[in-house]
Symmetry: C2
Subunit: 129 residues, 2 copies
């Protein structure tokens, strides 16, 4: 992968950058995950959001199990070249493995984390064997 746009990024000690996935139409922030060089290159090549799974230590094509694919609209880079935004279209309208639209479903209210959005689909129904 001799692509110069990948060489401009300041990967951290683990070879990763934080990525925020934002719904291209609503502007809602759906999740935050991580990309290594291969994940980012694959995202650009395949036109869908691909991350590096730190828990499973492998490439994670978002939606590969759930069907909740994220179609890529655009990739943005910040001033320090160490953070990315994927603007995406969320297939199925669910980004979170809990079955909610967004992973950021907890809001700080009166010094406590309050769940502020509903489960749209039960995880057991999403991750059927």
């Amino acid at each position: 992968m001799a692509q110069s746009w990948l060489d401009e990024l300041k990967w951290n000690a683990e070879g990763l950058l934080p990525v925020v996935a934002q719904d291209a139409s609503s502007g809602r922030i759906l999740m935050q995950a991580w990309a290594n060089r291969e994940a980012l290159a694959t995202t650009q090549k395949e036109g869908r959001a691909v991350y590096w799974s730190r828990s499973r230590h492998k490439l994670w094509r978002k939606g590969e199990e759930s069907g909740h694919i994220q179609k890529l609209n655009a990739i943005y880079l910040d001033c320090d070249a160490d953070s990315l935004v994927y603007k995406i279209e969320q297939i199925g309208g669910i980004a979170c493995h809990t079955g909610r639209q967004s992973c950021f479903y907890r809001k700080l209210v009166d010094n406590a984390w309050q769940e502020i959005e509903p489960v749209l689909k039960e995880p057991n129904d999403i991750y059927k064997k």
Copy 2:
């Protein structure tokens, strides 16, 4: 700081979490930075975005030099309790130290990072001595 809502977070090995600052009215993603426990507690207490500066190794009250304070609207937490969103009002309309509205002013176009937004104020005019 014996606050249980802070104890629920999964701080990384350096005691930090990634934070995304999002404009509360437009939904625009303005920047991504980091918070430690003290930065987050201070954000909640003071009602303005506070980060941990990894380069300066100290608490960073956003806008302390530039005047570009971020008034806090709400704090959101993700499903894994390891990523935060600050919804904020960006005073001065400029979040980036380059003088742009957002730090994410580069977009990947034809395998190159293209600057897609203007400098609203020259950094020399922002960071006057």
